[in-house]
């Protein structure tokens, strides 16, 4: 393999290891899955261009989130919506919190979520699917069920809390990782 190929493989490996955390960081800040996907793509393009400058002593995730932070700031500025989003200062400290969420914990949480979703009432699971699917959304769900959007938001809040607590219980039972909360 030539140098270029080596560099590609190294980059792909770094990204593979941290992509889930990076994606989670971006999604937490922009909240829209499609926007997060676009920003993830943009960020990785920038990361690749700057990969030569990346200090191998530093955490890749921290570096990647730092780059994502700029992309997100530009994106929000272009949409003139920054007032409903966080300041750069907070985005910066959230990188640390994101770094503490290690891949192994993410995986455990995801597995627990799958289990917990099976425990939901059929009606709640359906509502979750409608609200979180690409074609759906809270408005669509509200229309379909003849409810107000606020009432659907209330149901979602209840379901999310139930899932969050269920995940916590599942992690505590399995206790393969330290549950920090």
């Amino acid at each position: 393999m030539n140098d270029d190929q080596n560099r590609k493989v190294e980059f792909a490996e770094c990204l593979r290891r941290h992509q889930s955390q990076l994606f989670g960081y971006i999604h937490a800040l922009v909240r829209d899955l499609n926007d997060a996907d676009d920003l993830f793509q943009q960020t990785t393009t920038v990361l690749w261009k700057k990969f030569d400058d990346y200090d191998r002593q530093r955490s890749f995730l921290s570096w990647a989130c730092g780059v994502a932070r700029y992309e997100i700031a530009n994106f929000l500025r272009a949409r003139s919506r920054q007032r409903l989003y966080f300041s750069d200062e907070l985005n910066l400290v959230l990188i640390e919190a994101q770094e503490e969420l290690q891949p192994v914990e993410l995986e455990e949480r995801r597995e627990a979520l799958v289990q917990c979703m099976t425990k939901l009432r059929e009606r709640d699971r359906k509502l979750l699917e409608t609200c979180y699917s690409a074609a759906g959304g809270v408005r669509e769900a509200a229309q379909r069920e003849g409810r107000s959007p606020q009432s659907v938001h209330n149901s979602l809040r209840r379901i999310r809390r139930a899932l969050f607590e269920c995940i916590l219980r599942t992690l505590a039972q399995n206790s393969r990782i330290e549950v920090i909360l």
Partner: protein, 530 residues
Amino acid sequence: MSEPNEVPADLRDLFDDYVSGLLDEDRVKLLEARLLADAQARAWFVRYCRLDTDIHLEVRARLAGERALRTIDEQVLAAGADGGSRRAERTVASRLRGLRSARYAAMAAAAVLAGVGVWLWLSGKSDAGDEIAWLINAQNCQWADQLAPAGDMRAGKVLRLERGLAEIRFLKGARVVLEAPASLELLSGNSGRLARGKLTAKVPESAKGFQLHLPQGKVIDLGTEFGAAVTADGSSDVYVFAGTVEAHADPSKDAPSTSISLTEKQAACIDAHGVSLKAPWTETGRKDFVRAIPVVVPRIFSVDFTRAVEGTLQDALGRGTGLTHRLPGTGQRLRNNDGNLSLNLEEGRLELTTTNSDINTQFCLDTGEYLGIRLADLGFGGLEDFEVTVVVPNVPALKAVGQFGLYAGARSDHNVRGGLISRKEPEQYRQFLVQNQGGNDNPPHYVGVTYPGQDLRLTLKREQARFSLTVENLTTGTSTILSMPQPRVMEGDPDLHVGFFGANTQSELRRTLILKEFKVTVWTIASGSS
């Protein structure tokens, strides 16, 4: 390590409202302050957000998985008449279904969203070229989130049309006209899912077997033309224009009838109770569907004031100006040979001397100058979009309050008008657009500044239920647009007039405006195209 109930409930509410996008500016600031002050809150916050991300990924993975299995089923069905091989392939599909675990689906979603790109990039492959449908015609389309389909009509793509008509051709040849508001998901080169709204489908021989999934069933087309409409309660109506279709209710439903074969002019309803034949076809029901995107033909009226036109509104010397109608409710006391109008045929212009009249409060409108045409003379039926435009060179200085511009409306007390108004500042105009309702103006909208001596082109346009006034400053090369929603009372009104006006509304100082290149366009629907 602390227990979750140590996080204050109000903070948890903030987190949840944050992921739901429900926070206003003040509460975003509040949440931010709390997070900056407390590392524990941040740790909790990233996990709560992660839950939201994971639910997104998990739900999309599940739906993607189900869709993939349906596609396999369809391919198995389409594989032909060989019963033995079909059975064998069905077994494969059902085994696949059995193998699918939630974990697999979750991993698939993560790969779709984040990892696939890396793999493709490393392997040098491109995912371009696997489109399964194309947008072949569109009219007045507005897509959700401004996301018009562009080279990305692959399986799983959801087309959310908020306004207009879009025609889509599927890979195998079926053509669908989607009518907004509607949501259509592309499933394969010969199938789609209508989640809401209406469509009609023309299915040629090559696409026989085209499937349209509906919230509580599906339609299989056997080479024909049909329409489908999903109502707000999730039930669907299916109408057949020609040929035969099979309407199926979801097999899981405990329904007396799960499948019906429909032929020309028959209709069925698919709902939670199964599928049932509807009352026989009516012409009204038939007209509810758009079967082809109508061809829009612009019809144009224009006068350049280079010749006198007999039988039209006359100037002081009795020469026809080319303009045919005054806005009803104006100009009743003006003479046939209107002393305020003077054609200059050599220069190709109409000179209009303003009068002391005001449409706001209907002051002295019997001498008000509101000249133009009746839109019905251009085939206007009430719903079409239209625009009126005029060039006004070397704008004179009207004293405050003076105004000139364009109007559209049924009467002097029921219209929209916009143009330039001179108010407080001397020797200065502002662009305005206003609705007159019952004789009085609603609060006007203002923008832009222009000055006497400049050359302007004004355009008043109605498009997609909005009025806009564009002022192009031909002297400076700049332009400004002001727009507002169409007043309710004008919706569908077939008896509208458009034209030009000029008035020294609150001063005695009359000025002469020069008008050139007056033009009206109505975008009519060609007959027989829908």
